[in-house]
C-alpha cells in the first residue's frame, strides 16, 4: 500500500500507485483536472505526491506519446509565425509544465533526434538543459566542465550596465561600463536573460601569442590606443551618506561651512568646494579624504574649564569626507529625510577607471587574467591587413585548460565581424564547419591563423598566429581599489600594534605560520625585529616583579607595593604587558623576575 499525499498532507492509501498516477495524468491531459496539478511517485518511499499548491517552480516540456512528440515541426513554425498561440498549445496539452517532483518521474529527451518510445517528454529547446548562468556561455559543449563553471561565475563579476536607470540611483557602489558591446558570438537565451539590453563586455581583437614575457602566467597584453579609444573604460560610482541628528536639549547637527573656532576645524581650502549651505557643488572634483558635506555637531562632552573660559564654540567638526582611497567628481547630491524627519544628504561621487596594469579581465570560457603590460599601438604586432590586436593572450593558457570553445569563439567572432553578422554559439547549435568555411570564403585561413608582423622591427613573424575576436569581460577587481602597502602608520589603541585592513592603512600580518618559518630558518633576531612594532620599555620593581609607577611630577619611579625605588627597565611587547594587566584584573598576580646580574 503506498501512501498518497496532497499538498504534503496525508489523504489515504492506494494499492497500485502507478495506475493512480496514470489515471490522474490522463485526467489532467483531458483538462478534467487543473493543469497546475503535478503528480509524482517516489519509488524509494513508496508514496504518491500530488501538488496543486502555489510556489512550486515549474518548467514547460513537450509531451511525447509513443515515441512521437505531440508538437510537430509544422506546429513549431506556426508558433513562430504567431499563427498559433501559446495558450492553444497549453490547452491542447501539447506542452505541459512539470514541477521538480514530477520531473523525477519523467524521461526527457534533449533533442528530437533521440526520442524513443520510453521518453515521456522532450525539451522545448536543447539549450534549456542549462540554467541561466550557464546559458550565456558560448560553445559550452566544446569546453571542459569546470571551465564553464568558472566562466559563469566570472560573468557575474563583469562590469557592464547593471541597470539602465543608474543615473537616478544612489547605491553605495556600482560600476558602469562606458561603451558596452553586445557580443558578436551570442546564445539564444541571452535575450531572455537581458544581456542584449544590459551588455557587459567588449568584442576585442585577440592574438594568441607571447609578448616578451609580459603575458606569462595568464597576463594580458593590452593595446594602449584601444584603451584611449575607450576599451574597458568604466565609471565607478560611490555614494556617501550623512544624517543630521537631533540630540536632547534641543541641540542638533548643522550643515554649514564650519567656523574656524569649531573644534577639529580642518583648513579653509578643505571647505572650498562647499556652497553656503555647506553641501558640495555638483561636478566639482573631490580629492582623497576631501570634504563633501560640512557638518558641525554638538560636543559629546563639555571640554575642560579652560576651553570654556576661552569662549570656544561648543561644536565640533563632523564633516562628511570621502573615505581614503577614493576620489572623483561629484555626480549628484540628494537631499532627503528619514522616517524620524532627520535630514539626510547623500552625495554620489564618480570616478572614471581606465584599465591599467593589474586590472582583471576574463572571457566567457573561464580564462581570466590580469593586464600585464599596456603597449603603444605602434609596438603591437599587426596583420597584413593592418589589423592590430587589442589584446594578446599567452598560448599557454589553452592546452592544459582545454578551452576549445574559446578558440572557436575567436574564429566565430572573426567571421561575425567580417560578415557583419552575429554568430550563434548556443549549446549544440554551433556549426564549426560552417564557420570555418565562411572564414575560408572570405579569404582567410580556415583555422583563423594569420601572419603577423613585429610592431617594433616590422619583421614578419615566423609562425602564423591565431587572431580573431573574443568577447571580453572587465571584472570589477580593480587594482586601484586593492593596492596597499605601508611602512609606518596608525596603530590600534589597545595593543599598540599596527591596524588591520587596507581601509585603515593597516599593516600586513606576519602570522603564526610565518613566524614558524623564521624560526625554521634559525633567524630569531630578524623575527624579533619584525615583531617589534609594539615594543615598550617598562619599569619593573626588582623585588615585587610589579610594574612600577612613573611619577613625572615628583620625578620619581617607585613600586606601588613596597614603595621601593629599585627599578629595572624591562623591554617587552606591549601586547604581553596588556596580557599581564588582564591577568591582574582576574586577580592573578604575575611577577616579572628580572635576571639577577
Amino acid at each position: 500500500m503506498s501512501e498518497v499525499y496532497v499538498n504534503g498532507y496525508f489523504v489515504g492509501e492506494h494499492d497500485s500507485p502507478l495506475e493512480l498516477i496514470k489515471a490522474l495524468l490522463e485526467k489532467r491531459r483531458k483538462n478534467q483536472l487543473p493543469s497546475t496539478m503535478n503528480v509524482a511517485y517516489h519509488e524509494d518511499k513508496d508514496e504518491v505526491q500530488v501538488n496543486i499548491d502555489a510556489g512550486r517552480v515549474r518548467r514547460p516540456l513537450i509531451v511525447v506519446e509513443n515515441g512521437k512528440p505531440l508538437m510537430t515541426e509544422e506546429m513549431e513554425s506556426k508558433l513562430e509565425k504567431r499563427e498559433m498561440s501559446w495558450d492553444e498549445v497549453l490547452k491542447k496539452n501539447i506542452v505541459e509544465y512539470l514541477d521538480a517532483d514530477e520531473e523525477e518521474n519523467a524521461y526527457i529527451a534533449v533533442s528530437r533526434k533521440e526520442v524513443t518510445p520510453e521518453h515521456t517528454h522532450i525539451e522545448l529547446d536543447s539549450s534549456l538543459i542549462l540554467g541561466v548562468a550557464a546559458s550565456v556561455l558560448v560553445f559550452p559543449e566544446k569546453n571542459r566542465g569546470d571551465r564553464l563553471n568558472y566562466g559563469s561565475r566570472m560573468a557575474v563579476q563583469a562590469i557592464g550596465i547593471p541597470l539602465q536607470n543608474f543615473l537616478q540611483r544612489d547605491d553605495t557602489t556600482y560600476n558602469v561600463l562606458v561603451y558596452p558591446q553586445v557580443p558578436l558570438v551570442k546564445t539564444d537565451s541571452m535575450e531572455a536573460v537581458g544581456l542584449e539590453s544590459h551588455p557587459s563586455g567588449h568584442n576585442l581583437v585577440v592574438a594568441v601569442s607571447t609578448f616578451y614575457g609580459y603575458n606569462v602566467e595568464d597576463a594580458l597584453i593590452i593595446n594602449k590606443a584601444s584603451l584611449d579609444r575607450g576599451l574597458g573604460r568604466s565609471v565607478a560610482y560611490r555614494s556617501f551618506v550623512t544624517e543630521f541628528r537631533r540630540y536632547w536639549g534641543g541641540q542638533e547637527d548643522m550643515a554649514c561651512i564650519p567656523d574656524p573656532s569649531v573644534k577639529g576645524y580642518r583648513s579653509e581650502e578643505d571647505y572650498d568646494m562647499l556652497d553656503e549651505q555647506g553641501i558640495i557643488e555638483v561636478e566639482s572634483s573631490v580629492p582623497e579624504q576631501g570634504v563633501i558635506v560640512g557638518k558641525i555637531s554638538p560636543l559629546r562632552f563639555l571640554g575642560i574649564s579652560k576651553e570654556i573660559k576661552m569662549g570656544l564654540q561648543n561644536f565640533r567638526d563632523n564633516s562628511l569626507t570621502i573615505s581614503s582611497g577614493n576620489s572623483g567628481i561629484v555626480e549628484k547630491v540628494i537631499l532627503t529625510s528619514d522616517a524620524e524627519g532627520n535630514k539626510i544628504v547623500s552625495a554620489v561621487v564618480r570616478d572614471t577607471k581606465t584599465p591599467e596594469v593589474g586590472d582583471k579581465m576574463a572571457t566567457r570560457h573561464g580564462q581570466k587574467g590580469v593586464i600585464g603590460l599596456v603597449v603603444p599601438e605602434e609596438d603591437m604586432p599587426f596583420t597584413a591587413d593592418g589589423i592590430v590586436p587589442d589584446i594578446i593572450v599567452n598560448p599557454h593558457a589553452i592546452p592544459s585548460r582545454m578551452t576549445v570553445g574559446q578558440l572557436l569563439e575567436i574564429i566565430a567572432g572573426k567571421v561575425g565581424a567580417l560578415a557583419a553578422k552575429r554568430i550563434n554559439g548556443t549549446v549544440f547549435k554551433g556549426e564549426e564547419e560552417k564557420i570555418r568555411a565562411a572564414l575560408k570564403y572570405m579569404g582567410f585561413r580556415d583555422d583563423g591563423k594569420e601572419t603577423l608582423y613585429n610592431g617594433v622591427t616590422g619583421e614578419k613573424m615566423e609562425a602564423p598566429i591565431l587572431t580573431g575576436i573574443t568577447y571580453y569581460y572587465r571584472l570589477y577587481h580593480l587594482v586601484s581599489k586593492k593596492i596597499h602597502a605601508r611602512s609606518k602608520g596608525p596603530v590600534a589603541l589597545m595593543t599598540k600594534q599596527p591596524t588591520e585592513g587596507r581601509s585603515k592603512e593597516g599593516g600586513l600580518r606576519l602570522g603564526e605560520m610565518e613566524k614558524d618559518c623564521f624560526i625554521a630558518h634559525g633567524a630569531p633576531i630578524t623575527l624579533k625585529e619584525r615583531f617589534g612594532s609594539d615594543k615598550v620599555s617598562i619599569p619593573v620593581c626588582k623585588d615585587c616583579g610589579v610594574i612600577a609607577i612613573e611619577d613625572h611630577i615628583k620625578n620619581r619611579t617607585y613600586c606601588p607595593l613596597c614603595k621601593n625605588d629599585v627599578i629595572v627597565n624591562v623591554e617587552m611587547s606591549y601586547a604581553f604587558k596588556l596580557m599581564l594587566d588582564e591577568l591582574r584584573s582576574l586577580l592573578i598576580y604575575p611577577q616579572i623576575v628580572p635576571e639577577s646580574s
Binding site: 614558524d516 618559518c517 625554521a520 633567524a523 624579533k528 611587547s573
Partner: protein
C-alpha cells in the same frame, strides 16, 4: 676567531670525526670499485665528506619546526579521500589525511585496524595459506547458517547450517554446540541432520525468551580470532601474504605457520603492548611513510624519525596535541599559547608556577630573542688580564 675566543658553552656538540668516517665507509667500497683514477677517487671522497658535513644540521637549527613543516605542508595537499582499495580483493583501509591524523593523534584503535601476515617457508603455498586465513577469520554462527527460525510448537529454536561452508571450513556441529554452551547457559541442544535444535531449560518458555536466544546465538563465536572480520590471501612476488581487517597480534602470532618475525599490524598500541615500544616506534615510522608515499609525498625519513622518537620517548605512545606532547611542555606560556589558554594560566596562578623563558614560543610572545639559530649564541671573551682569567663578560640582551 682569535686565540682568546672560544665558543661559549651552550651545549654544542661537535660531531665526532669518526661518525663521518663511519658514514663514508659505507661508500668507500663503491668508490674504490669505480673505474676512475686514484686522484679522482680521493677527490670524490673528499667532496663526499664535504657534502656530508654540509648536509648536517647546524647547532641551534630548529629541527622540530622543520620536521613539522616538512610533514604538514605536503599533507595539506593530499586528498581528503579517506578510503583506498588496498590489497586488490577489496579491503578498505583508511588512507590519506585521516590516517595521518589518526597516527599523530595516537588513537587507541585505528578506524580500520589491519594486519599483514607473512607465512613460514613450509607453509607458503596456496592451500595452506587459505587454510590459515580461514582459521584466522572470525566466524560467528550467523556466518555459517542459512536461517534460524522459531519452532513455536515445541518452543524451540531451529538453526539451519550452510552445508557448503561447514564442509569448507571443516566445522563439526558438536563444536558449535559446545561454543554455544560456553556463551549461553541453560540450553539444551541436539543435532538433526543440517539443523541444530536449541531448547531452553526453563519451565515456562516464552517467545520473548526464544527471540533473545535467537539474537544471542547469531553472535556466538565459532571459529577464528575475534575482531578479525576479513582475511584475504594475496600473492606478493613469490610469496603468499595474508591481509586482514581487524587486528589481534597476540592471538595471530600463536597460530602455527606464521612468520612472527615479519608479522605486523597498523595498531601501534597493540604493537607496543606485545612487542615493546621500540617496535611501536618502528611501526609508527613505517605507517607514516606508507601513508605519505601512497599520496605521492616524499618526505625525508629523518623528519619522521624525529617525530616518532618524540612520540615514544616516554616509554609509551604519546599523541601530538593537547593531551600529549604539546600539553606536556614545561613552559606555562608555551602551553597557554597552544590550547586551553585559560586552564593553563589559572593553574599556573593556583600553583604559583614560573616560566624560565627558555623555549621559543615564550620568547616570541614577550618580544625577546628566542634561543634558536642565531639567537642561540652569545659572544664571550676572556679578558686579557692574566690575574683574573675566570671572569667572563657577557653581552646583555
Amino acid at each position: 676567531m682569535g686565540a682568546n675566543c672560544s665558543i661559549f658553552e651552550v651545549g654544542v656538540i661537535i660531531m665526532d670525526e669518526s661518525v663521518i668516517q663511519n658514514v663514508l665507509g659505507l661508500y668507500e667500497e663503491k668508490i674504490d670499485s669505480l673505474d676512475i683514477s686514484p686522484k679522482e677517487k680521493t677527490a670524490l671522497k673528499l667532496s663526499l665528506k664535504d657534502r656530508y658535513a654540509k648536509m648536517r644540521y647546524d647547532p641551534g637549527d630548529a629541527v622540530g619546526v622543520v620536521a613539522a613543516q616538512s610533514i604538514s605542508e605536503p599533507a595539506t595537499q593530499t586528498t581528503l579521500r579517506s578510503y583506498h582499495r588496498a590489497a586488490g580483493a577489496g579491503l578498505n583501509i583508511t588512507q590519506g589525511l585521516p590516517r595521518i591524523l589518526e597516527i599523530f593523534d595516537a588513537r587507541k584503535v585505528p578506524v580500520t585496524p589491519s594486519m599483514k601476515i607473512y607465512l613460514k617457508k613450509e607453509y607458503n603455498n596456496k592451500d595452506k595459506a587459505v587454510e590459515i586465513a580461514s582459521s584466522i577469520k572470525e566466524t560467528d554462527l550467523k556466518h555459517i547458517m542459512v536461517m534460524d527460525s522459531l519452532d513455536l510448537a515445541n518452543m524451540a529454536l531451529e538453526v539451519e547450517l550452510d552445508k557448503g561452508i561447514i564442509k569448507q571450513f571443516n566445522i563439526i556441529p558438536d563444536k558449535i554446540i559446545s561454543a554455544v554452551k560456553r556463551k549461553v547457559k541453560n540450553v539444551n541442544a541436539s543435532v538433526d541432520g543440517n539443523k541444530l535444535i536449541f531448547e531452553i531449560k526453563k519451565d515456562k518458555v516464552t517467545i520473548k525468551d526464544l527471540q533473545a536466544l535467537r539474537f544471542k546465538l547469531r553472535d556466538v563465536h565459532v571459529k577464528g580470532i575475534k575482531g578479525i572480520t576479513h582475511c584475504i590471501v594475496e600473492r606478493v612476488g613469490d610469496e603468499y601474504v595474508l591481509y586482514t581487517l581487524g587486528s589481534n597480534l597476540m592471538k595471530v602470532s600463536k597460530i602455527e605457520g606464521i612468520d612472527t618475525s615479519r608479522l605486523c599490524s597498523n595498531n601501534m598500541f597493540e604493537i607496543a603492548e606485545v612487542l615493546g615500544i621500540e617496535a611501536a616506534r618502528n611501526t609508527l615510522v613505517m605507517e607514516i611513510i606508507e601513508t605519505l608515499r601512497a599520496q605521492g609525498v616524499d618526505t625525508d625519513v629523518r623528519h619522521l624519525l624525529l617525530v616518532a622518537d618524540a612520540m615514544t620517548q616516554s616509554g609509551e605512545i604519546q599523541p601530538i596535541g593537547r593531551y600529549g606532547l604539546s600539553g606536556s611542555k614545561s613552559s606555562v606560556l608555551a602551553r597557554a599559547n597552544f590550547e586551553e589558554t585559560i586552564r593553563h594560566l589559572t593553574d599556573a596562578a593556583v600553583y604559583g608556577l614560573s616560566d624560565d623563558l627558555n623555549g621559543i614560543v615564550e620568547n616570541v610572545m614577550i618580544g625577546k630573542t628566542a634561543k634558536v639559530g642565531t639567537g642561540l649564541v652569545d659572544i664571550a671573551m676572556k679578558t686579557q688580564k692574566k690575574e683574573k682569567p675566570k671572569k667572563v663578560a657577557e653581552t646583555k640582551e
